[in-house]
């Protein structure tokens, strides 16, 4: 697969504050890449660098094979969609879409054709003569996407485009963006702090923290094999359970915490073999990987617990118990009857979990 966007050794500092250091990233043609992370992790900054809106302190940026590090945003072959839509308020939708093309000197027929194509794809034809003030949030965002579409570029950049919309509109537009990607097959780089958007839209997710990419992989891998504690805790709702304890290495690796012994047979260690000796570690198990009652008995590891809190979510139920003296949540179907104080048998397969070093946070 051909590389669409290539970022080499990118560094960015604001004065003495280093926001991004030596970041490398390759994005394939037609790929939907999501930059995911908490506020301040540098994802928007990275996007602005790719767009050319921010000047980098070091490194290079290539788009479609061309070195664009010193190019103006308009010459980079990109289109961008912003969180606040950033439509030109005094112009009609049609003028908003065509303004950039008119300035660039395109012929009238060409402009009309591009505008027509974009409005057809985004279903904004009937809105062409309206001004942004008379559009709903969802319509405005579609126009913003349209403005990027008419530019006929290879790469689209999205800077948290759905964050200003309410939950219902957000899920609607999310599906539309996915459909757009399937239809256009352009490379799309998408910034968000919402993990649901990331999981549903991405071909690959780059989770960022403090300017560094923690893990770059497809959603499935990120979800099931998070590369460190941060990623494991960031993805998944309700979040992964973390049990602190010691990992005893050797032929039969076991995770021990407050007297509870969890056999780690079948767990795929990073180097193939478990670390020797005893290492302080953290065992991570997702709440939905926990079985209850009879199903629990078939699991390699079982334990009993007393239910502390029950949270009925509607679609399922989340309950809190204690394992090895630490908080533990599990998820089950909403039909199952759970009561506070109830003693229940739970089980999980440690091989499906994740082990992390307590010192470095990395996956073992």
């Amino acid at each position: 697969m051909q590389t669409s966007v290539s970022i080499k050794d990118l560094s960015l500092a604001f004065g003495s504050v280093r926001v991004i250091e030596q970041l490398n990233l390759e994005i394939g043609q037609g790929e939907f890449l999501v930059l995911l992370g908490p506020s301040g992790c540098g994802k928007s900054t990275l996007l602005n660098c790719i767009a050319g809106l921010l000047d980098v302190s070091d490194g290079q940026i290539f788009i479609s094979g061309k070195n664009v590090t010193w190019e103006e945003p308009k010459d980079r072959g990109i289109g961008m969609v912003f969180q606040s839509y950033a439509l030109y308020p005094q112009m009609t939708v049609e003028k908003n879409l065509s303004f950039g093309l008119r300035v660039a000197g395109f012929k009238k027929e060409e402009i009309a054709e591009r505008v027509a194509r974009a409005s057809e794809i985004l279903q904004i034809g009937p809105l062409l003569q309206r001004k942004p003030a008379n559009l709903s949030g969802g319509q405005r965002q579609r126009v913003a996407i349209g403005r990027a579409l008419v530019r006929d570029v290879d790469v689209f950049l999205f800077d948290e485009p759905l964050s200003n919309l309410d939950a219902k509109l957000r899920s609607e537009l999310r599906v539309e963006i996915k459909r757009l990607h399937q239809r256009l097959k352009n490379t799309m780089i998408y910034v968000t702090h919402d993990q649901i958007e990331a999981m549903t839209l991405a071909d690959r997710i780059a989770i960022m923290r403090d300017g560094v990419i923690q893990q770059l992989a497809d959603p499935h891998t990120i979800y099931n094999k998070p590369v460190n504690l941060f990623v494991a805790g960031f993805i998944g709702s309700p979040s992964m359970n973390f049990i602190h304890g010691d990992l005893e290495g050797g032929a039969e690796p076991t995770f021990v915490s407050n007297g509870v012994r969890v056999p780690m047979k079948g767990y795929a260690f990073d180097n193939g073999v478990p670390p020797s000796g005893t290492t302080k570690g953290v065992l991570g198990i997702r709440p939905e990987h926990v079985a209850i009652h009879d199903d629990a008995a078939r699991m390699p590891f079982t334990f009993d617990g007393e239910i502390d809190i029950v949270e009925p979510m509607g679609s399922d139920t989340v309950a809190w118990i204690k394992l090895a003296g630490q908080s533990f949540t599990f998820r089950c179907e909403s039909e199952v009857v759970l009561q506070v104080g109830q003693r229940i048998r739970l089980g999980f397969d440690p091989a499906r979990g994740s082990l992390f070093s307590a010192d470095t946070g990395d996956r073992l």
Binding site: M1, K8, N24, D58, Q60, F62, W70, V212, L216
Partner: protein, 315 residues
């Protein structure tokens, strides 16, 4: 935390392979900053504009330090050959307005006597007005407020004669209290607007909490709102001091012969054509008159800017 060289489709590629590309020789790092002609033009424009604004002040200062022979030579931009502060002393103590040759100092005193009470009273009144209009509205309040704001746009000359008659009727015409009242009257619209917008911008919850605590009208004002209104009060003070000190028209009409403010005296000194005109003294007198608001401006620069923007931006 690892920063591997992530390659296409997640398959690790030897770092060497990427680094050996010829691409690494291309543009890299921050864009080279060329001093473009556009940038030069911007600075040139701003510098020329700055010169335009500074020249009068420069000329005034420089002229006020020259003696008359040098002034007559007509090189207004030259620095004084024989700098002297005699013009300044003359201006302050012995410049003549008509038949009185007392210099500017009486005018200065009068201006102070006029400005300080006017500022204090007009701000107190406006602050209470703004407070009452924001939190304790009564039927008709909005009407009077709109009338007041309308008054802000009305040229003074439209109402000046009825005001004169009114003042005469109350034996306040050409008295110190009279001109203080006049300044208060004409300061009220803008200041009330300022304070009302400020109080309206405060969260209503503070007010409600105070009411729940049992505080009444005046208690809430003194204990809660007044302390919070320090920033806007500072702005209001700056605006009023500048406006009142610089006033000329009201001083001309309402001050009376015993309370001539500095601006009036300045005009009399400069524009009386008795004998030779002492330009250097005139310039010194002008600077002295402008000194007070100028000093306030330079000392409280950013508050002044905020005041102008705040006073001018209406709801």
């Amino acid at each position: 935390m690892t920063t591997d060289n992530y390659a296409i489709a997640g398959t690790p590629t030897a770092k060497a392979a990427l680094k050996s590309d010829a691409e690494t020789q291309g543009p890299r790092g921050p864009k080279p900053k060329r001093l473009s002609p556009g940038r030069i033009g911007v600075y040139a424009f701003l510098v020329i504009a700055a010169l335009f604004f500074l020249v009068p002040l420069y000329v005034m200062i420089v002229t006020s330090l020259k003696d008359m022979p040098e002034v007559r030579e007509g090189h207004i931009f030259n620095l004084p050959l024989r700098p002297t502060i005699d013009p300044w002393i003359s201006a302050w103590t012995s410049a003549c307005t008509g038949r009185n040759c007392t210099g500017l100092s009486p005018g200065f005193l009068n201006s102070v006597k006029i400005t300080i009470p006017s500022v204090i009273i007009s701000i107190i009144v406006a602050s209470i007005n703004g407070y009452a209009l924001s939190f304790w509205r009564y039927r008709g309040a909005e009407f009077f407020f709109n009338l007041l704001v309308f008054g802000a746009f009305v040229p003074y000359q439209v109402v000046i004669y009825p005001l004169i008659i009114g003042m005469r009727y109350m034996h306040l015409f050409a008295t110190l209290p009279g001109i203080i009242i006049v300044h208060t009257i004409f300061g009220m619209p803008i200041l009330t607007l300022l304070f009302r917008n400020f109080y309206a911008g405060l969260p209503i919850e503070i007010f409600k909490a105070s009411r729940i605590d049992g505080a009444g009208f005046w208690q809430t004002y003194f204990r809660v709102m007044l302390p919070m209104s320090v920033p806007i009060t500072v702005v209001a003070v700056i605006l009023q001091v500048t406006g009142i000190w610089n006033d000329f028209l009201f001083g001309l009409v309402f001050a009376g012969p015993t309370n001539i403010p500095m601006t009036l005296q300045l005009n009399n000194i400069v524009n009386t054509t008795t004998g030779t005109v002492a330009y250097d003294v005139n310039m010194a007198a002008t600077i002295l008159t402008a000194a007070v608001p100028l000093v306030i401006y330079f000392v409280s620069g950013k508050w002044f800017v905020r005041g102008i923007a705040a006073g001018a931006v209406k709801g």
